[in-house]
Amino acid sequence: MKPAPFSYADPTSVEEALDVLTAEGEGAKVLAGGQSLLPLLSMRLAAPTTLVDINRVPGLDQISAGPDGVRVGALVRHAQLLASAEAAGVQPLLGRATANVAHPAIRNRGTTVGSIAHADPSGEMTAVLALTDGSVTVATPDGRETVGWADFFLGPLETSVHGPAVVLDAFFPALPERSGTAFAEISRRKGDYAVCGAGVVVTLDDDRRVSSARAAYLSVGLVPEVHDLTDAVVGQPVDSADWAAAGELARGKVDPDGDLHASADYRRLLVATLTARTLADAGAEAARRTA
């Protein structure tokens, strides 16, 4: 189908964008990459009265990687982030997760920040923002504020941002020392929505023993959720850590829904399997970075 009629504005600054959003009221919606929004329009699941296209706002397409982390601007495409060696050097989860976002044609257009603002619990980057304890910068007519991930995601496709606002960037803190990451997902076809996915971070102490193991999941809860699995493996030497026990611990912590694609029990099974698998990979990477 075609999108229902709407009006369109293409401001050239954040301030102009906020002016239009304010003037147009509740029915106005920000358009960035559009790879989630336009399907919703075409399927008539959403019918905004006005689209405020921020693609002409200069300066929002920058990735800045520093010692503290990676800041990703609102117009950075998935493909741009995937290709950024600087970003992957500071926080390897960014490249690893982005490689799982849909297909190249979607990644060429879709934006990382847009998919976070879309707040789909099956989104890769929502999970990565949560796992890295990241935040977003939100511009409103009252000014700019930093919102942590836990305060940002309220429910499926719902964030705490209401009224006229533009998410300007997302900040992903750097990977700590002596740490490794991994990301994996199961989908019916590569590039499709994940039936279940997991991103993990393992941190070791100076003796190469596990000091922290954390995981975030896709398509498991209503919002991205992070689970601390350290208890199952704490103090264990990284080469012989019982990652399967951490998987079992995770299986007991999650409470997924069943749907057409997978029952709740099957999703729990995938959580256990993906957790054990990714933790082993992340542990091996952490060991290499600790040597």
Partner: protein, 187 residues
């Protein structure tokens, strides 16, 4: 204050030709190509980004034309399947290697999905180092975002490898001549 509109003038270079049009803002790029510019080579399948049939190149990058508004390509360059071939400077056209390979390998049956495959694979092949042999992973990544319900993909993947080999030959004539010479010297 930024103007809020229901129609907007756009200027876009389509297959090398500058075009001007005033389009309803709710038109998708696929609508503008087919109904505005009469370029019906771009096929519209699912119209929500899943099937890949409508894929075109925006500034050289494969893009779903059903997931971009026509007003968003103002000032950009768009290449459709009609623009993949090159002039032979004698009044004719030379097909892109992937187009030749599709014919050679029988990589299409009904042809509905073909324009999306051709644009996606052509961009993928043009972006890679042609002197390096293509891997199965690269081929899978190139065709993975497009649905074909006729061929079972075997011949499409064969065409990818065939086109990559053709482009490899074209890219390394000297090297191959030298290695052939070495072989002769060795005998």
């Amino acid at each position: 204050m930024t103007e809020v509109r229901t129609e907007r003038a756009i200027s876009v270079v389509v297959n090398g030709v500058p075009r001007e049009a005033t389009v309803p803002v709710r038109w998708l790029l696929s609508d503008a190509l087919r109904h505005g510019f009469g370029l019906t080579g771009t096929h519209v399948g699912c119209e929500h980004g899943v099937c890949g049939a409508c894929t075109v190149l925006v500034d050289g990058q494969p893009t779903r034309s059903c997931l971009v508004l026509a007003v968003q390509v103002d000032g950009r360059e768009v290449t459709t399947v009609e623009g993949l071939s090159r002039s032979d400077h004698q009044g004719g056209q030379v097909l892109h290697p992937i187009q030749e390979a599709f014919r050679e390998c029988h990589a299409l049956q009904c042809g509905f999905c073909t324009p999306g495959f051709l644009t996606t694979i052509a961009a993928g092949l043009d972006a890679r180092d042609p002197s390096v042999e293509i891997t199965e992973e690269e081929v899978d990544e190139m065709v993975g975002g497009n649905l074909c319900r006729c061929t079972g993909y075997a011949n499409i993947k064969k065409a990818c490898r065939h086109a990559a080999a053709t482009m490899r030959e074209a890219a390394t004539p000297t090297e191959m001549a030298i290695s052939a010479g070495d072989e002769e010297a060795g005998r």
